[in-house]
Amino acid sequence: MNTTMEGLVLAGILFTLGLISMLIRRNIIFMLVSVEIMLNAAGLAFIVAAARWGQPEGQVMFMFILAMAAAEVSVGLALILQIYHQLKTLDSDEASKMRG
């Protein structure tokens, strides 16, 4: 066993956790959080890969991921506020006016 493998496995586990929590959580905020977890898991994977090849690109990528995640969260929270104003709840299942 070497570090790359372990790192990737760890990332994988994180990713899966995020995924599962996204499936089981109904609260939109928590869903957002779990997406963030997944994104960071991906970021971790990049770090590991970069470490394996000793290249900077991986870290660069991670930076971008962070930035993007932040942006996403900000927009996301704004939208969540709107949703809350209208639905008076954060239950994602409530936000299903459109169907069929």
């Binding site: 066993m1 070497n2 790359t4 493998m5 995924l19 996204m22 499936l23 109904r26 869903m31 994602s92 299942d93 936000a95 299903s96 006016k97 459109m98 169907r99 069929g100």
Partner: protein
Amino acid sequence: MQWIYLIPALPFLGALLLVLTSRRISKRGVALIGCGSVGLAALVTIIAGLQFMQEGSTGYTQHLWDWVSIGTFRIGMDLRLDALSLAFTFVITFVGFLIHVYSTGYMTDDPDFARFFACMNLFVGAMLLLVLGDNLLLLYFGWEGVGLCSYLLIGFWYKDPANGAAARKAFIVTRVGDTAMAIALFLLVQHTGSLQLSTILARAQELWSVGDPTVVLIAFLLLGGAVGKSAQLPLQTWLPDAMAGPTPVSALIHAATMVTAGVYLIARTNVLFIISPSAQAAVAIIGAITLLLAGCSAFVQTDIKRVLAYSTISQIGYMFLALGVGAWSAAIFHFITHAFFKALLFLGAGAVIVALHHEQDMFKMGGLRKSLPGVFIIFLVGSASLAALPFVTSGFYSKDQIVWLAGAAVGGSAFYSLAAILGAFITAAYTARMVFLVFFGHEKTYVHHPPGPVMMVPLYILAVLSTLAGFVELPHTLGHLTLLSDFLSPVLPAVVTDHGSVALEWGMQGLTVALCAFAIWLAWRLLAAPFPAGLKEVLKNGWGFDDAYNVLFVRPFVQLAKINRKDIVDKLYTGLAMITQRFHRMMSATQSGILRWYVMGIVMGAVIILSVIIWRQYAGHVDIKMIQR
């Protein structure tokens, strides 16, 4: 000679004129056009006939134009005038003309005067085309044409649905026969590569040895056509119903001319029948059986026209019998005499019917010999001829010839002659019965308006003819005269007699005459006598052929049609559409609008893709150790 095309053209022209000017011209004008066209045609025929005879030529063909010509397959609009067609043409035009004249009186107060004459002219034209056509396709043209006219005229009084039904029945039943005939034509095209009569008959002898299955098949199919048109077993059922039409129509179409088209066809294609003996035998047998069955039916009818209808069937049976035994000219002889006396009888009956204000039931008539003496006379003449009273009537000579040859000819046999004699007996019986019922006994009704000269003159002419026409052909026993058969000899092979002697012929004639006398006496006696009811019904309905056909063909067809009015095949497609919609509903359920559901979808996709990939890779034993390095 080069204007024989006028013979069919004139009536067609008349019909066209009448259709175009139908409502605009007076009845007089209509009558003029209607009779005039046929009269002229008759005139032309007579002139052409005289010229033909004095030239002594075997036949004259006139090519009008190419009808259908594809490569080697060529069919022209060709008319051929020879002894046979001349004989028929003469009868058609002449009798036709008389009947037209008669009709002007008979139909005089009918609103659709013009339509009637248009159809009649059309019929005459088609019939002439039938007999003058030089190839079978042209013959078929006329063949179907007369079928159409018969349909139109039977259903002439369209207001009554029953007439319409009768008309359709006539057309459809004959069409069944025509279908057989059409197939015969296909066979001929295939094997002889032509429909030109002379070519076919010539090629036939080269192609086929006697009894060759192909030619037998062809002959049988042609016979099918003939049987349909001439109302012989098993397709005879339409003719009695056909009496729904005006009486002149019955006289012209369903007695004198159209129904004998079958006889003409077989006579025309005699070669084919000669080289297929079984088919020819079939002709004889059909003829024999038909003449007996129809005769019996005729004996119990109450409607005077139906009596005549059945007797027509029976008489044509005689002709078929003659054809079947190879007595070709005898058949034609009987055709001619029959044309005269049966037309006479129908027109006479018509006169009676008009006089009694469209009363057709004989049991409601009676004693008319006093009130309608003229009609009585001519009717008597006709009946005598039909019953074949010896020596003075044409019917006697023609029928006697058949009776004799039925046994004596090569193809003949004792059975045939027996049938013929028996037939003669029955004929005499029902004829006598008819005469007695109508003209003797005490009067049951009074005469509204006796027929005028327009109707009587043709009757007299026909009466004369149906007496004299017999003397063109005399049996060996009475000064052996053979004008007609000599005249026809270029076209029709002479009859060959093997067994039988003059003595025997004497004997048979004696027997026949005796039987006729006995029959008349019997008819007189039985007039009042009760008749076994069950049998009577059977006979009255023509041996129940109609019911049989209803059960076998008509009802199943109609039922099937009813059941499947809504095209079962369509269900297939509608079903398909329904399934599609179901599926749509199922699918749209997946679009629940719930976020986590969508996430689930994506995850599912991911899982499937990944598992497939990894499974594939391991299954493929790809080296994955590269990850550790």
